[in-house]
Amino acid sequence: MRYEADPVTMQVIRYGLEAVADDMGYNLMRMGRTTIVKEIMDINCAVLDAGGGILAQAHLCPLMMFSLPTTAEKMLERVPDFEEGDVVICNDPYLGGQHLLDVQFFSPVFVEGDLVAFVANIAHQLDMGGAVPGGVAGGLTEIYQEGLRIPFVKLYRGGREDAQIFDLISRNIRIPEKTMEDFRAQAATTVVGVRRVQALVRKYGLDVFRDCTRMLLDYSEKRVRRFLREIPDGVHTGRDRLDDDGRTDDPVDIQVNVRIRGDEMEVDFDGSSAQTAGNVNSPWACTQGGVFYTMVGIIDPDMPLNSGSFRPIRVSSREGLVTNPRPPAGVTARSQTMTKIVEAMLKAMSEVVPDRVVAGSHGQACTNSFSGVDPETGKRFSYIEIQGGGAGARPTKDGPDGQDLHLGRFMNTPVEAAELENPVMIERYEFIQDSGGAGKFRGGLSLRRDIRFLADVTWARYSDRQKFRPQGLFGGLEGSVGSLILNPGTPGEARCRSKGVGEIKAGDLLSIRLPGSGGYGRPSDRDPERVAWDVRNGKVSARSAREDYRVVVRGDGTVDREATAALRDR
């Protein structure tokens, strides 16, 4: 059968590439050895064209996708030649990566001697060495403290593992037996991807494949241009701020300046804070990711995501800002900043397309790692928790209660999975009442998880929003702030900073409480029956119903219509 490069074949090839990316992701999750890969699924997979541009990505953690093309471009500049079976790895934030824990794997796809594409994946590794076990420590000041920095290195040549490089890495990281297996799983995933892309190219022929993938990128570009043309030209600014950088108590400002002109858009970050001593700096791929993620959600979440989609959106940042740091600034906690970029973008775009944005979400990544020695087995353990918080209210409905973060579609760690593998006992996992900002549509509630430790642990963490609340939109109220409290309700109660490294003693309890989210529209416009339903379910207190929503809910859970009308008329 002969195929022509036409829009229908293009669509068929697109489906084929998406299937490859999704199948790679599926394999990687199934093979993974560490919680962050196998349960949380902090991974992504993609097929790239021979120039490093994204052709298709898996339906996994969105933020990670934006690193792959940026890094691939740098790889093509620096790696002189490829052969079949090579696997190149890189984790350097200054070469397009996220933080050092996220290791990227690339494999060339050859068909009859031609380099036609790359397959790639990225996964958060358990530990990449550095000052702090588990790596996810806020407050470090240089990338050298954050772990082993790997520029472009061929981990496999012609399908053969380079034992020396494996050895080099193994000796620089903690718990190499798990991480090295996840490395091998990442490599095996590319093997499957390469085979699948080869079959696809052979089937359609190289010319048709190339023409169709070019058409695919142009098509995505066209869709974005059409959207931009339809919205009014203008300049808009959005702001949000971080509590601190983990070193000082000074807030870190994030400002996005959006200029829409014709079918193009420019975004810069003038007005944002200078790069910080603490490691909340957002490497360049991360910053772009915050902008692109928001725009995809606004324009059309179902559009094919590839490098073409991003051509009409020019993102720039002066070097030396927290949004484009110079080395050797630390970057591990960059997700605190990326999520703020999303919040600021949403705020700016709320002036343009109020019906396509959402109110402020928990807007941070509450990441905690606990490492120590299991008293029962005598073995070293390291375990990561990322928790969900409130998701912002939407133009026509409430925000979801207890959800992952913008940019990060991930899963929690089941209580039973955590306890089966680690010396901890989780005592509480629940919604926090009144944490969602009141509004015509309520912000999603945040979560609380209380963990009791059965061994001494080193606790590394980064999170944010202990000071500045998630924003409400169009009259919606702000959501609650988060907190980290050791031994709450006891004489030893201690409130802990959002970022840092510390020790927790066996027997102590850590209560992780996430920020909530903002409401959308005025609370007094909310249907009183919905308020009563929330009160009945304990999601909103009777007091908040009365004070914020101006709804009087009787003891039996029904709405007191007269009293409500009187309150609302005042």
Binding site: M1, P7, V8, T9, M10, Q11, V12, Y15, G16, E18, A19, D22, D23, N27, M29, R30, M31, G32, R33, T34, T35, K38, H59, E181, R184, A188, V191, V192, Y219, K222, F227, Y293, V296, G297, P301, V357, V358, G388, R394, K397, D401, G402, Q403, D404, R409, F410, N412, P414, V415, E416, A417, E419, L420, Y429, E430, F431, L447, D450, G538, K539
Partner: protein
């Protein structure tokens, strides 16, 4: 005689098979939504009349119903009270915190609401730790308080899901005892009984599903049994389960969660049956209906099962036939997006307004419209002529919404619609087969439903599959699966031990205990010992992995030795290599779950193969029709009536074979053959 009755959304399908001769009868009757039992009784009466047999000659009925799935989709299950460990009442609603899978960028996406609202979820004071030890004894006062609250709220069912109950079910059982005293007559589901596996959310959701559907299913079973008895006296009634086996109606009342998706499971069993008859060990079952395309995988003549299935984004952690559903069917709507590119689905015209060609008011082009425009469907013979189709309406829809905006001819546009929908279905099949590292070149594609046989050859070619099989009765295929299904029950226990910690005696004891439980169950269902089959397997993984691979384990009545344990581990390394192209033979294997499946085998049907030398059919077609092919343009091709084609017939493509409920297309360059069981087999020789 056995009779299978499948209640679907539109029709109630009935199949009767004579166990002695293998002769089938079948019929359809409209589903009676106000009272499903009415349609069941009607279909039953019809089939007895068609076959000229009395109920005394029927050994048993097998029934499958979508009543469970419907209750979930419509939110019409029972009012459930959920008991959890205090502090974990929200686990059901928190889920795994992730947004829906396909919605990584979609701010508007939501997971479905919890089936038990927060005010009906009550915590009790107790705790069992990860070693199965009681850390906080059950405080019975808190259980009684929950019971009092549930009584006030008039719950119809209670579900108990406590942390680590899969390791130690003592507290859950004690809660059940207290509820039996406090709320007599209210059914109680224990998570440790229905789904003793780790991961509290998935286990809780599965148990809740059982409680939520239990009263609905029980009421239905009672009503149906009473009606059957009033009409025919005592009748042996079996119910189809999602695991591909059956159970008695009495058992079904307390196993409601096992009924979800049982209809499509029947289709997979029938696919396995046909693949077995025709000597195809590996097959893909493809059921294309109006809105969806259901895919099942047959591996060594057995439907692939999963424990990670679910319904409408609620996980159900029970072994079930692995069915993947994608939004592609005859009613899927074709549309040109803002970028000028053609898309098909997932929106469907359904049956209201239906594709444009139905003439029911639909104006947007659906896949059926494209098939009609290209001459693949016969406007006067759809559903045997019961539903006249309007080619001009189809053409107008395709022209207005696809051809004109894209600057294509109507034929090119319609052919484009088919290519896109076929590619989408092919993507679904390839995605579902990746799990085991399958090579699709060995697979047959078995079609069912009205529309699949029109698309199958193109899909199979897209995927380089070996052949297409269009079985007879493909319109009643699920019901065919019911009559060939075995009685089946699955048991699981979490072991969670590393290879070196395995005590072979303990391993044996666990398997034997589950086996005994299963055999007792089969005895209750009056299965004779010589008809019993028992299968052992284990979910294994490397240390640290979360996702297991299920490996078969030879049943060892004589006992296990350490060598056997090692052999099981070796089998796992090989399987891991096959599935993921990677294994670590030096590494230790972890035994996570042990599983036992017990089957009450149905006696094989004495299925008669008619033999006849293959012969080329010359003439004999009922009409010649112009049909459009993308590569060749319009061709005048023969249209055969399926019943006219006897065993051995070989019909060169391109041609079309019509029957009342489905239409098959043999593409140019291929030949359709009627095999000994009256399947149409299209060999895809000459493939790449």
């Amino acid at each position: 005689m056995r009779i299978g009755i499948d209640v679907g959304g539109t029709f109630t399908d009935v199949v009767m098979v004579d166990e002695a001769t293998g002769a089938f009868h079948y019929t359809k009757t409209p589903t009676t939504h106000h009272d499903l039992a009415e349609g069941v009784l009607k279909g039953l009466g019809d089939i007895l009349e068609i076959g000229g047999v009395s109920m005394d000659e029927v050994s048993y009925l097998i029934h499958g119903t979508t009543i469970g799935t419907n209750a979930i989709v419509e939110g019409k299950g029972a009012r459930v009270g959920l008991v959890t460990t205090a502090g974990f009442e929200d686990v059901l609603e928190i889920r795994r915190v992730a947004r829906p899978k396909e919605a990584a960028f979609d701010f508007g996406a939501d997971n479905p609401p919890p089936l038990v609202p927060r005010y009906l979820r009550k915590g009790v004071r107790e705790r069992i730790d990860a070693g199965g030890r009681v850390v906080v004894p059950l405080e019975e006062g808190s259980v009684r308080a929950a019971a009092a609250a549930f009584e006030r709220e008039e719950v119809e069912a209670v579900v108990v899901s406590l942390l680590f109950s899969f390791l130690n079910g003592e507290h859950e059982r004690r809660v059940a005892d207290i509820f039996a005293q406090e709320l007599p007559g209210v059914p109680v589901t224990l998570s440790s009984e229905i789904c003793p596996e780790f991961r509290e959310y998935e286990r809780t959701c599965t148990a809740v599903m059982n409680g939520y559907l239990g009263p609905v299913i029980a009421r239905y079973m009672d009503r149906l049994t009473a009606r059957l008895e009033a009409e025919y006296g005592k009748v042996s009634l079996h119910i189809m389960q999602s695991n591909g086996g059956t159970m008695t109606a009495e058992v079904a009342k307390s196993h409601a969660a096992h009924l979800i998706n049982s209809g499509p499971a029947g289709g997979a069993i029938a696919t396995a049956f046909v693949s077995g008859l025709t000597g195809n060990r590996m097959a893909v079952g493809a059921d294309m209906g109006g809105t969806t395309f259901d895919i099942s995988i047959i591996d060594e003549n057995l439907p692939k099962t999963t424990t990670w299935g679910g319904v409408t984004n609620y996980p159900i952690k029970l072994p079930m036939v692995d069915l993947k559903t994608i939004g592609a069917g005859g009613g899927s709507i074709a549309w040109v997006d803002e970028g000028g590119v053609l898309n098909v689905g997932p929106e469907s015209a359904g049956s209201d307004p239906g594709p444009a060609c139905y003439g029911w008011g639909g104006t947007r082009p659906a896949v059926s419209d494209a098939n009609l425009v290209l001459g693949r469907l016969n406007p006067d013979y759809f559903l045997g002529g019961k539903l006249p189709l309007y080619p001009e309406k189809a053409e107008k829809a395709v022209r207005t919404h696809v051809a004109d905006p894209m600057g294509l001819s109507v034929e090119e546009a319609a052919a484009g619609i088919l290519r896109i929908v076929n590619a989408n279905m092919a993507k679904g099949i390839s995605g579902n087969s990746v799990e085991r590292g399958y090579d699709l070149r060995e697979f047959a594609l078995v079609t069912m439903g009205g529309a699949a046989a029109l698309h199958a050859a193109d899909i199979a070619r897209e995927l380089n599959m070996a052949r297409v099989i269009v079985p007879p009765m493909s319109g009643n295929f699920s019901a065919v699966g019911f009559v060939v299904a075995d009685v089946q029950h699955d048991y699981v226990r979490t072991l969670a031990r590393k290879e070196h910690e395995i005590d072979p005696f303990e391993l044996l004891r666990e398997f034997r205990e589950m086996e005994e439980e299963g055999v007792r169950q089969l005895e209750q269902e009056r299965v004779r010992a010589e008809e019993t089959e028992i299968i052992w397997s284990a979910d294994l993984r490397y240390d640290g992995q979360s996702w297991e691979l299920n490996a078969p384990i030879p049943r060892a009545p004589g006992g296990f030795t350490e060598k056997d344990v090692r052999r099981i581990a070796e089998g796992f390394h090989e399987l891991h290599q096959q599935v993921y192209s990677y294994s670590e033979p030096d590494e230790e294997v972890e035994f996570v779950n042990l599983r036992v499946r017990v089957k009450g085998l149905n006696p094989d049907l004495a299925f008669k193969a008619e033999t006849h030398e293959p012969f080329l059919v010359e003439g004999g077609w009922k009409a010649m029709r112009d049909v459009y092919f993308a590569e060749k343009g319009w061709l005048s091709i023969p249209v055969y009536e399926r019943e006219d084609l006897s065993v051995g017939s070989c019909i060169p493509g391109p041609c079309i074979v019509e029957e009342t409920i489905s239409t098959a297309l043999v593409p140019p360059g291929h030949t359709g053959a009627i095999d000994a069981y009256r399947n149409i087999v299209i060999e895809l020789e000459g493939r790449e």
